[in-house]
């Protein structure tokens, strides 16, 4: 993999921030976009912008074909059995909410339990809390070990006949931990629970095969896989999607409407009310193509080298403590420095052109578990380079000197 060549595909990497070359280490929040994604957006708006599915004119047909081509690409990207199992959403958050509002309202009742983990993003906590409150169900939480891995023994104890759903993150956005979701899915199925996997952070790094994982639901966001913002997908097993009630009502999702009764469209349209985000969905295919052209294995190898190098270099800084040192980790390093608030580091690094994320990463319960207000998180993508990690380390040295 030629990183110098890849960097040329990302025009934003040429810019400077505060007079310094940009070092972009906030990839877990959102990745930058390659030219082919930007071009796909431009091409759609300048050549075949039209509303999809019902138009019989050429533009509508072309737009519909491109839109559905993305569904096919997403199916292949995550190893689904059919395109009918791919529902386009605004992103992971909406996908999780869709399941909570449809499957959840149909299947969760008083006394049931929903099992999540202590390292969940707020998006995979709040929808279930709302549901539990409404239904009189309870939310159970798998604790996180000191090294940032899930306590599998606690998981096995928490998993009971009362567990109706296991909703768990594949890769932690705050720690980088890769959870053993296949193993956990098997265990959950053994007690009759359904499983939702939050793939927001995993989809860009790991090979995803929802059939092999045997996941009932899998959600991911386009903007974290080099695609545009505002589009993501929910995978659901066909029999579940068929039996679930509708999410939002409107155009596109209907078969026939009368004031007495409305019948709904077949999968996947049943869950896609209204004019969807056509342009971004079409451009998402360009992002998925980009990833498959380079190959996830190559990307992973490169990112692993970056992660190892960063971990090794950061550890040389006095007072630095890495939060999350699980054996199975991908592409990000979260840390705190003794006596310094993460935000102060973030502000000073920004002045050196280095973009990191500081704060609680929308995982407040996890921060509480580690007894910290937040961390500094550097997250890597395929276009990052070793020299940029050197800049980060030098930047931190300088910031520490200024702050202490």
């Amino acid at each position: 993999m030629n990183v110098a060549e890849i960097r040329k595909q990302f025009p934003i990497l040429e810019r400077t921030v505060k007079g310094r070359p940009l070092v972009y280490f906030d990839n877990a929040a959102t990745s930058q976009k390659p030219l082919q994604v930007i071009e796909a957006l431009r091409h759609y708006y300048s050549h075949y912008n039209a509303n999809i599915h019902r138009g019989i004119h050429t533009l509508a047909e072309e737009a519909t074909m491109a839109y559905e081509a993305t569904r096919m690409a997403v199916k292949d990207f995550i190893g689904a059995a059919s395109t009918e199992e791919i529902i386009f959403t605004r992103g992971t958050t909406e996908a999780i909410n869709l399941v909570a509002y449809t499957w959840g309202r149909q299947h969760i009742s008083k006394g049931d339990e929903i099992l999540i983990s202590e390292m969940e993003h707020h998006s995979n906590i709040v929808p279930w809390q709302v549901l539990c409150e409404e239904k009189g169900a309870s939310l159970k939480v798998i604790p996180v070990e000191e090294d940032g891995s899930l306590s599998i023994s606690a998981f096995r104890e928490l998993l009971t006949e009362r567990t109706k759903l296991l909703s768990v993150v594949h890769v932690s956005n705050a720690l980088g931990t890769v959870n053993p979701v296949k193993e956990m899915t098997d265990a959950a199925h053994a007690v009759g629970a359904k499983v939702l996997i939050d793939g927001a952070q995993s989809a860009v790094h790991l090979d995803i095969d929802v059939q092999d994982l045997d996941a009932d639901f899998f959600a991911f966001s386009g903007h974290k896989v080099y695609g545009p913002t505002g589009v993501g997908a929910l995978y659901g097993k066909r029999e579940l999607l068929e039996s679930m009630p509708v999410f939002q009502g409107g155009g596109e999702m209907i078969r026939e409407v009368s004031f007495e009764k409305t019948t709904y469209a077949d999968l996947p349209y049943k869950y896609e009310a209204g004019t969807p985000n056509i342009a971004d969905t079409i451009a998402l295919k360009a992002a998925l193509d980009f990833i498959s052209e380079i190959g996830k294995v190559n990307i992973r190898t490169h990112e692993e080298a970056l992660l190892n190098y960063a971990t090794e270099q950061l550890k040389t800084l006095p007072g630095l403590r890495i939060i999350g040192e699980a054996r199975n980790k991908v592409s990000l390093v979260s840390f705190v420095i003794e006596g310094i608030h993460p935000q102060d580091l973030g502000v000073l690094l920004d002045n050196m052109g280095i973009a990191v994320r500081t704060g609680h990463h929308c995982t407040q319960p996890l921060m509480k578990r580690f007894g910290i207000p937040g961390t500094v998180r550097a997250s890597f993508a395929l276009y990052n380079q070793k020299e940029e990690i050197d800049s980060l380390v030098a930047g931190l040295q300088k910031a520490i000197k200024m702050l202490l």
């Binding site: 608030h341 993460p342 935000q343 609680h360 207000p373 702050l403």
Partner: protein, 146 residues
């Protein structure tokens, strides 16, 4: 008691910042202000004084005496604390009317607007709003006495 008008203090800060020729100098100065701001007593670090941002926490306490408001504040992040120290320097020991009328243009002048824009991350904007809320409340008390 602060005899200088708010705009005068703002002008002084702008002049001070004009002397810095690098971002490092500017931030070292702010960090220094943050370190020097006397910590708020623990009894004032209560929820009702808390302005919670997405990242750091700010505590703000106000008292009203002889028609003047004085502010005390603290934060767990030192740069935010330095910025607060400047807000206090500008607004503290003034009348509610003066505080309510303050435009706080110095923040843009010294190139710290980004800290205002990041409303969620450090609550600097929320902080000014809270200081003005105190001024509104104390103004109402003052008028009642008249």
């Amino acid at each position: 008691m602060n005899t200088k008008p708010i705009t005068e203090i703002e002008k002084e800060i702008i002049e001070d910042f004009a002397l810095f020729d690098s971002w490092e100098d500017k931030y070292e100065y702010i960090i220094d202000l943050g370190k020097k701001l006397p910590p708020l007593e623990d009894r004032h670090k209560v929820d009702e004084h808390k302005i919670k941002g997405c990242q750091s926490t700010v505590w703000l306490n106000a008292s009203y005496e002889n028609g003047l408001i004085s502010f005390k504040a603290d934060s767990d992040a030192v740069i935010v604390k330095g910025l607060i120290s400047m807000l206090i320097k500008v607004l503290s020991d003034h009348t509610p009317q003066e505080i309510l009328g303050a435009k706080m243009e110095f923040i843009a002048e010294i190139g710290m607007m980004t800290h205002l824009a990041q409303t969620r991350s450090n609550g600097l904007l929320a902080m000014i709003k809270q200081m003005k809320n105190y001024a509104l409340a104390f103004e109402a008390i003052g008028q009642r006495k008249d």
